[in-house]
Structures are given as structure tokens and as C-alpha cells.
Amino acid sequence: MGNCFKSSSNDDISLLRGNDHHDPALEPAPFVEPPPPYRPQQRMPIFHPSPGVSRPANQLTEDEQIKIAQRLGLINHLPTGKYDGTNKKAKECVICMNEFVFGDELRYLPCMHCYHRECIDDWLMRSFTCPSCMEPVDAALLTTYQTS
């Protein structure tokens, strides 16, 4: 007698079949988060996603929020320092037109123009240029951030 190949019967397979279909009625209800607490929004910051466009922070699109976060990150990379009178050329902040006084917090742009940190940060959120010389504030850095 030769060796006969014996094919397996279907019976074994049928044994493996369980009752595995889902019954939606038995699934737990999806968890619903409670709404966030109401907050009065008297001090909603206004952002300027592009020149001429201003919007309260809660009405920004996701893209605009990302752009603003990136911009804030870039601004925070620019050097700051306290006014100590050593830089004889920088005497006043052309944005508020006030003379610098000892201890004022300044921010320096790559073109070496400097302003009160508070004054220039406000402007840089709108336009990433130096108000005095209109030089773009490190355009190279800006593009690497935007494309990454």
C-alpha cells in the first residue's frame, strides 16, 4: 500500500468558529467629556495671523495657532538684556518714544536695533521686521522653522 495523502475534513474548522460577531447594543457608550467650565474672556489676547488680519485667540484656525506658536518660539530666541547705559547709540525706544532707563528690559534684533521687550514683541507678532530698518528678522531661521 502506498502512502495515501488524506485531506482533512471540514469538521475541524467548524469547531473553531465561535460566535464572535459584535453586538453593538452590548458595547459601552463612548465616554463624553463634560464641557469646559465657562470663563469670562475679558482679557482675550488679540493675534495677527497675517498683516491686516486680527482675531481674538479663540477664533483662530488651527493653522494660525501653529503659526503663532512658531512665531512666539522665534521671538523668544532673540536676545534680551537689561538697559545699563553702556550702548551709547541706543537711547530711546522708537516704538513708545520713551528714553531707556536703567533696568528696562530690552530685546535686541539681529540688525542690532533694540527696543523695550514689551514694545517690540507686540510688533513682531504682526510683522517679523525691524521697525527702524525694515530688515527681516532672521528670515533664514523663519523659513527653516516653517518648512520643518
Partner: protein
């Protein structure tokens, strides 16, 4: 005092103490919080506008100097100029997209005076008729396409 008022107060002081030639702040026109000014402008001698008097109206938002001021010619005499519409609107880039907070009432006035002084032929902008009929009251709302700057 808001930061807008503080800055305008300083600008006003400087302009009354040491006024540039042909530019004078009209003191009666100032609103109490300084958000509106009228500046009297004289056409410079030796130019097409010599002897003429004009008035510029300035309006500032509380966000000045981050927001540019609204600036236009007002009153009866509007200069005839290729960048000035007959309703007083001025097509000048520093008033919109090239605005910088380092600019001031004085520097805006001086730019406008020099724009007038360099004019070689008194004529209206080519699109004056349609612009004046269709534009917004606020020139800052106009999406200007900047004509050539050679005039």
C-alpha cells in the same frame, strides 16, 4: 493715559516745539484723547503746489503705533496728484502695508509733502472715477495695488 495717548502726546510736543517746514498741527482739531488730528500742509515753494493749502485728517486706533493711522486729505482743497484720489484717499504704501511703528505723524506728513513736491504733472489717478464710486470710506480698507513710485 493709554500707550497710544502717551505716544501721541510726545509726538504733539515735538511737532509744536519744532515744526517741520510747511506742516502744522491744527490745535483746535485735536480730540481730547488725541485720537483725531488735523494737520495743515502748505504746498512747498518751487513746486506745482506752491501757494496751495491742504488739510490732512489723521485717525488713530487704540493700537497705534502698531496699527497705522488712517490718513487722508480732507476739506475743500484736495491736491490733484496721480496718487491722490479726488475723495482725499492717498495711495501711499507706508500708510498700509509698509507701515512701521518707528514712523510718526511727522514722518507721514513729510512723506506726503515730498510726494507732492516731486510731482511733475497735476493729474488724477487713472482709476479715479471708478475708485471714488466704489471704495470704502476708510482708505485703510482699500487693497491698494501700488502704482509705480516714479511719480
Amino acid at each position: 493715559m493709554t500707550s497710544m495717548e502717551k505716544r501721541l502726546q510726545k509726538e504733539l510736543q515735538a511737532m509744536t516745539k519744532d515744526p517741520p517746514v510747511g506742516v502744522k498741527v491744527n490745535m483746535e482739531s485735536l480730540s481730547s484723547n488725541l485720537s483725531e488730528w488735523v494737520v495743515d500742509i502748505d504746498g512747498a515753494t518751487g513746486t506745482l503746489y506752491e501757494g496751495e493749502k491742504f488739510q490732512l485728517g489723521f485717525k488713530f486706533t487704540p493700537r497705534y503705533p502698531f496699527d497705522s493711522p488712517q490718513v487722508m486729505f480732507i476739506g475743500r482743497n484736495i491736491p490733484v496728484h496721480p496718487h491722490i484720489y479726488s475723495n482725499g484717499h492717498i495711495c501711499l504704501s507706508i500708510l498700509t502695508e509698509d507701515w512701521s511703528p518707528a514712523l510718526s505723524v511727522q514722518s507721514v506728513c513729510l512723506s506726503i509733502v515730498s510726494m507732492l513736491s516731486s510731482c511733475k504733472e497735476k493729474k488724477l489717478p487713472p482709476d479715479n472715477a471708478i475708485y471714488v464710486r466704489t471704495c470704502s470710506k476708510d482708505p485703510k480698507k482699500t487693497r491698494w495695488w501700488y502704482h509705480d513710485n516714479s511719480v
